[in-house]
Symmetry: C2
Amino acid sequence: VFAALRASGATRVAIEDPGFLGHRLLLRRAGLEAVPVPVDGDGLRTDVLERVDADAVLVTPAHQSPMGVVLAPRRRTALLAWARARGALVIEDDYDSEYRYDRDPVGTLQGLDPERVLLAGSASKVLAPGLRLGWLLAPSWLDGALAEEKAYADLGTPVLEQLTLADFIATGGLDRHVRRMGRIYRARRDALLAALAHRLPEARVHGVAAGLHAVILMPEGLDEPAWLAAALRRGVLAHGLVHSRLAAGPPGAIVGYANQPEPALAEAVARLAAAYAEVV
Amino acid sequence: VFAALRASGATRVAIEDPGFLGHRLLLRRAGLEAVPVPVDGDGLRTDVLERVDADAVLVTPAHQSPMGVVLAPRRRTALLAWARARGALVIEDDYDSEYRYDRDPVGTLQGLDPERVLLAGSASKVLAPGLRLGWLLAPSWLDGALAEEKAYADLGTPVLEQLTLADFIATGGLDRHVRRMGRIYRARRDALLAALAHRLPEARVHGVAAGLHAVILMPEGLDEPAWLAAALRRGVLAHGLVHSRLAAGPPGAIVGYANQPEPALAEAVARLAAAYAEVV
């Protein structure tokens, strides 16, 4: 997508801050300049975006990466208005919104303006990253550039997974899978939240209404790298927010809960707490 | 591979002429200059290569693409000597040598100098292109750049095909498949050769001791595009040599015979002959 965007003449792309490190790396690789725009509790600050000179904006409106907020309705309207006024592309990365626990589904931006918004989805969270499957709903004017980039990148995606996934969707298997795994992930999320409340009350938890990770913000002054290094020595890997953030912000971590049973999550939180006690 | 080579500082890559159009397109995409070196009946003209200033050479020694010749032993020695003297990388594209009919296996260049030669193999011909599987045996000094390029390109190849292929190899399934398909492809090749001898005696046939395609060279003066356009109107698609060649050469075509039963191949040759009769 980024290479096709670059080939179409774009040079600057607005991104969310905090945001997904992988986006920044891929933009740089494609020769595009990333322009950070802050995120608050309603998602991307569109009032800041309106002052930004960019050819595209890359957003995670359904479950902001990493903070987990939903882009507010008023912001959605403002985002699309900005894009239309500039002729900019909106890249909507919907990476994990299949799993929801305490909220209704969020409509896509793409559905509101299909020629202005490119929607990217992925099987990595809803099924498995080892499938290496994703999909794009792209504006028609990008078709040619996207097809060319795809041909140069890999001549196409393996066919067996694609056909199997299509069958899995058509027969209702994916819906059943999401319902079944949603119950499992909800129980894991609840175990994580309970353990955090019990063992690490200093943590403020964000973004857990959907998706497969929580963001925990810690008290100002904590040495985030030292804390997470101490956790890693105890066998717990959590990504610090330093990798997500360009502007300054409180220390914290991204904690995935999808692939661990409840007792392991409680134990992981106990170790995060012990690491916290060690460094404060 | 080409992006990693570019990242390692290379700028010019010697290629075979005639050669594979895809190689040229990918080199250009990676920002590398392709320097053509002629091919004769013994493969790449290493006497010409020796006067070429390049950081790497890209060859198809087991079954030259498209001409189908084998790189002669003396040329292999000269090629490696050139690479060693310059510190250049040899990229050995072994795309189809699993299927052999009238000759012994050809050893790889990579086996002669693993730190100087990168060997690329593919499941596309031996099994199916829809698997999108290939493999590299790379010099250790390229490991880091290759891993980085792979991560940026796709974060890795789908795991199911890789595990299945590993099992298929370990259990002897691939060997059985190659033996079984080799008999089928040999019969198809023989049917193609018989039809060409009977219906299109003007064609000189090259490169059919191995692989899945023949090259046919036609009498000088034939309008190659007009001939193949006439064939296409009759429902037969064959790639003209014009796409393979940078220097001038006789007209001709690349004819794949792997995925058609014998009667269809005979019919295709009849239509190529009718197209020839139409344009001469």
